[in-house]
């Protein structure tokens, strides 16, 4: 969950009458509960009316053609334009500004390298060479929703002869500012590690910061697929929360959830980050820094096998020494 001190104004949009989730332009039905979108009410028809559809080109009557999947004139071949099925590619609605400068990102990397623990190479910070630093905006869906969750699971609580006992329950869950990464450039681990540093209330409709030529990642899935991804993420998050807070016991298996979602509001964000590459002894390593708070940083670093072997060798020598001392004493 992220800091969201200042909510962004949301334009009033039509909502599903059943689950109260917002509908988007072109939606025939609600993507959550399947209810039909409200249609504009035409004037009430009281008499039988007969209608012939005519070609605007030659005036002949037109018929629906399954090969063209549209009504067409069999005389002049003109195809009548019909409303197409709307499934556009997802587009960013809000960009968070890049508030961390390149210098701050460099400093954050240096600080991070210094705190890699005892097993890092001693010369890591000094010998590492920054080869690339790239500001980019990666894409994600942020959603709010209410859910009535039914669940079943096996856990060790109350188990008898078997190691497992069945449990079931039903509970209300609230999801606020939950993030689902849509990025191809960042791994899920990277995206979720830097997400807590984002200030969602600072969203703008334009890109701010990041130099002259920032890399802007685009959503590469259509709306229908995005909804599937978001719903799958909600289900996985719900199962995780149920396991953590509602199922008794300490070991779990077969956690199953069924959700009835209400008021699902999804917004499409582009979130700023720095992707850095550094070289240490001919090996390249990658680090990602949150573009709004440089203390959120994730990446890979080298491991000093020399220190590991030295530790093992030292422990063995110490053990050997103690054995000798004990043998001499006896």
């Amino acid at each position: 969950m992220m800091d969201n001190t200042q909510p962004i104004d949301v334009i009033e949009v039509p909502h599903c009458e059943r689950c109260e989730s917002p509908l988007e332009a072109g939606d025939l039905r609600c993507a959550i509960c399947g209810a039909a979108a409200p249609q504009s009410v035409s004037t009430k028809q009281t008499k039988i009316a007969v209608n012939v559809l005519r070609c605007t080109g030659c005036g002949a009557a037109i018929t629906y053609d399954p090969n063209r999947q549209a009504p067409s004139c069999s005389f002049c071949g003109e195809v009548m334009q019909v409303e197409t099925i709307v499934d556009p590619m997802e587009q960013t609605e809000f960009y968070l500004p890049m508030t961390v400068s390149i210098e701050e990102a460099r400093a954050a990397l240096k600080g991070w390298l210094d705190t890699r623990g005892w097993f890092r190479p001693s010369d890591l910070s000094a010998a590492s060479q920054l080869t690339e630093i790239k500001p980019l905006w990666w894409v994600a869906w942020i959603f709010d929703a209410d859910a009535l969750v039914s669940w079943t699971a096996d856990s060790n609580a109350g188990s008898g002869r078997s190691s497992w006992a069945p449990h079931a329950g039903q509970t209300e869950l609230r999801f606020d500012n939950m993030l689902v990464s849509g990025s191809r450039g960042l791994t899920d681990k990277e995206a979720y590690a830097i997400t807590p540093g984002m200030q969602l209330g600072s969203g703008k409709t334009y890109v701010e910061g990041g130099g002259d030529q920032p890399t802007l990642e685009r959503f590469d899935v259509p709306r229908s697929q995005a909804r599937q991804q978001v719903l799958a993420a909600i289900e996985a998050t719900a199962a995780d929360r149920i396991q953590q807070h509602h199922i008794p016991g300490t070991r779990f298996r077969k956690v199953r959830v069924s959700l009835v979602l209400r008021r699902l509001i999804t917004q499409r964000y582009s979130l700023p980050a720095y992707v850095l590459a550094y070289r240490y002894r001919n090996e390249l390593y990658r680090v990602v820094i949150c573009g709004q708070n440089a203390s959120y940083i994730v990446g890979s670093s080298p491991f000093s096998y020399a220190k590991l072997f030295a530790l093992i060798g030292g422990t063995l020598l110490l053990g050997l020494f103690l054995l000798i001392v004990m043998a001499a004493a006896s």
Binding site: G34, Y64, S162, P166, S258
Partner: protein
């Protein structure tokens, strides 16, 4: 027997908008073609509770030639006991029709109870005879099941349940050619049915609701079976309540064929999904083939019994 819409006018008189000919058309027909000038007409009637205006439509994507080819293939690949004259019959096209159906959805609440089986293993000792004929005691690991009661509440959205609203096509016949890809659902427009036969609902909404409820309860049962924890379960019982129901009239593309395979038999209705090409229909079984198969099985069994008695 299907209940039909109460007190429907049996026919409607309309004037062709192209040539002015007076046409008498059936009250269950929503579109027609003038026999004099071939102009397609769409008849718009005031909606009633049992005949609402269509909300959605799935367009035809399979044309006549492709549908006929699919039916021929389906006939020739009918199961082993299908009548031979049926397999070689020539399908006669009745028509390509937009079939009225209801698209149903609801929120399902189910109170359930079941016995959940949790497996565990035990080591048990048993006595057996070894290769030298001596009685020996050995141990083995066996899996046993501990049964525990579980009850709870289950809730889910049920969407996209399709049931027929046509008196001419049973719900089983429609299920045989499902599914339809409802991602291609379009808002209803007269232009999609121009030149095609489109039918008005000829079943009451109450009857269609019953179909939808039956399908929904069966769906909830399937989901509940997958929802149960444990290694197995038994005695699953549940009570389903459906609320927040929505029902919308949708027109589905269907090619309807009549297959006449014998002079003394009525033709068989074969339906083709006009969107996916899936074919469905009842295949007449050949009693001669079944009788021969039964006799063959009895013969083989007798032969085996004879061989075994000779061997012993």
């Amino acid at each position: 027997m299907a209940s039909t819409v109460s007190n429907p006018p049996t026919s409607t008189e309309i004037a062709c908008q192209s040539c002015g000919a007076i046409l008498l058309i059936d009250a269950t027909v929503r579109s027609t073609t003038c026999p004099y000038c071939a102009s397609p007409s769409i008849i718009r009637r005031p909606p009633t509770p049992n005949r609402p205006s269509p909300s959605f439509l799935v367009g035809f994507t399979i044309n006549h030639e492709r549908a006929t080819q699919l039916v021929r293939t389906w006939l020739s690949k009918s199961h082993l006991f299908a009548r031979s004259d049926f397999k070689s019959a020539v399908p006669e096209l009745t028509h390509g029709i937009y079939l009225p159906a209801y698209l149903y959805g609801a929120v399902a609440h189910a109170d359930y109870s079941a016995s959940i089986g949790e497996n565990y293993t035990e080591t048990e000792t048993y006595t057996t005879t070894d290769s030298q004929g001596k009685s020996v005691r050995r141990t083995r690991t066996v899996t046993k099941t501990e049964w525990r009661p579980l009850s709870g509440r289950y809730v889910c959205y049920v969407v996209d349940v399709l049931v027929t609203a046509s008196g001419g096509v049973s719900n089983e016949a429609l299920e045989a050619i499902e599914p339809f890809d409802l991602r291609s659902l379009r808002a209803y427009s007269d232009s999609f049915i121009a030149g095609w036969l489109a039918e008005e609902p000829s079943r009451t909404q109450a009857e269609c609701f019953r179909f939808a409820h039956d399908e929904t309860v069966a769906l909830v049962e399937r989901r509940l079976k997958g929802f149960m924890p444990g290694d197995s379960h038994r005695n699953l019982q549940f009570q389903t309540n459906l609320n927040n129901e929505v029902i919308n009239l949708v027109l589905l593309p269907v090619w309807s064929y009549a297959v006449r395979y014998a002079e003394d038999r009525p033709p068989v209705q074969i339906l083709v999904n006009g969107q996916t090409g899936r074919v469905g229909g009842k295949v007449p079984v050949s009693t001669t083939k079944v009788a021969f198969a039964v006799l063959a099985v009895i013969g083989v069994l007798l032969l085996l019994a004879l061989l075994m008695s000779l061997a012993s």
